[in-house]
Subunit: 273 residues, 2 copies
């Protein structure tokens, strides 16, 4: 059911616990209706900061956004080379709106356009066919593989911070500036409607420590802005060291929960807390 207050919320305790509290043997999923009408856009900006500002404005407007993805110039260059596509090579937002009625969809898309133009959009392309729409999202999903193919023999660092939406432009500017400052190249892309983006950095194996230092500075900045060290990729081993700063005394309670559910430390040992 959609609402209950019968006892403690064990479900959300297990979600994101990375197998450290128990083994999930059966899941019940809630189904959502497929949208009747879909509108898919690509909007291009002079810089990533304008793109981040536009995504903040779109989210703050209360528009029912279904997808809102940032791709920087470098990501689009890599995609054009890997897939043979012809996307403008500028920082972009890929957006999608879902609605129950065509009229609502059109009105909402028009408002979104006005908002991104106010934030400095240079160019807008709408997907005219289902095929074009499919290709747009296929491209987004290929962003990682495009880099992998363009940088054979490299290792890849993928960062995963999130910050409150209002701090997103500052965070994106910091991430891009730090790449330049540290002499790294990398993609910035991600689910900016959630305040979450990733920097994908190809490095030669001997330069990996530099990429690690970058990732660490990004986490510190995210925490400083009231964000999180990991939005969706999880803690695993490498992000354990940031939890004391992010959670303070709550971390001790997380450790006690781990000890309660897994007193012998058998479940995904060494991870998370």
């Amino acid at each position: 059911m959609r609402k209950t207050s019968a006892g403690y919320d064990l479900k959300d305790l297990f979600i994101g616990s990375e197998g450290t509290l128990g083994v999930i043997t059966r899941l019940t999923l809630r189904l959502h209706p497929l949208p009747e009408h879909v509108h898919t856009l690509r909007v291009f900006f002079p810089g990533v900061e304008e793109a981040a500002e536009a995504s903040y404005r779109v989210m703050a407007s209360g528009l029912p956004v279904a997808r809102l993805e940032l791709l920087d110039e470098f990501a689009l260059k890599a995609l054009n080379r890997h897939l043979g596509t012809g996307f403008p090579e500028r920082p972009a937002l890929f957006l999608e709106f879902h609605s129950s009625t065509r009229e609502a969809l059109e009105a909402e898309s028009a408002l979104a356009l006005a908002l991104v133009e106010e934030a400095g959009a240079l160019e807008v392309e709408a997907a005219k066919t289902e095929e074009e729409r499919r290709r747009q999202w296929e491209a987004r999903h290929q962003a990682y593989w495009a880099l992998v193919h363009l940088f054979p023999g490299h290792r890849f660092m993928i960062t995963d911070t999130a910050v409150p939406l209002s701090r997103l432009p500052e965070m994106v500017r910091f991430a891009q500036g730090l790449l330049r400052e540290m002499g790294l190249t990398g993609n910035i892309l991600g689910h900016v409607g959630d305040g979450n983006f990733h920097t994908l950095i190809p490095v030669l194996p001997e330069d990996y420590p530099k990429a690690e230092a970058y990732a660490e500075r990004l986490v510190e900045k995210a925490l400083e802005l009231g964000g999180t060290c990991t939005a969706e990729h999880g803690v695993g081993l490498r992000k354990r060291k940031f939890l004391p700063k992010e959670h303070g005394p709550a971390l001790e309670w997380m450790r006690r929960l781990k000890a309660l559910f897994d007193p012998e430390g058998l479940l995904n040992p060494g991870k998370v807390v």
Copy 2:
């Protein structure tokens, strides 16, 4: 931030724990933008079952519903007497849609109208002014007090089950039939967009056990339909006995959580688990 996977979800563990795991001394709230455009409707049906069916269809359509409240004939009679209002005295849905654009709002309201008419709506009234809108929701909020004023010297049983949306019409029919079968009178009203409604039953003090028996049978039916014994009012003392059936072996883990956070049993003792 809107998204994090850094460690275990303590926030949702505390939400709904009724003060049994700890004392909340500080809260950070997420703000949502006020809607730009609002459309408020009252829709009247021949029976509560049709009203429940309509609410299921509206929710399943994916429409962005902001409020969806059921009030039965008895509730509207009580409100008209208590407030001097002139609502049709038939089972009703009170609905509200929020949107960022007027065009979207109009299109969505039109679709909602078509859906409720398909489900058997007899009459639709739209709030034409902010004042009328305010009065409609004020009436909804007065539903409990209207009963209290009409039944001096009575005690009031308030049930609080929720079921999956697709089972809502069956659940509402059961709740109303059981009132008749047990010779009780009562309001059926609530947040049917969540599959949740309340039956408000005025009884003379000596008849209270009968109302308790009614409430118990309603919970049994809700659990049979995959629902919950309490959607939002909480477990407290009276619903503890239903938790073994609702949660099975998970209840033992809830008890262990209670013992972990409150080994001496000082926090809201005796409640929930």
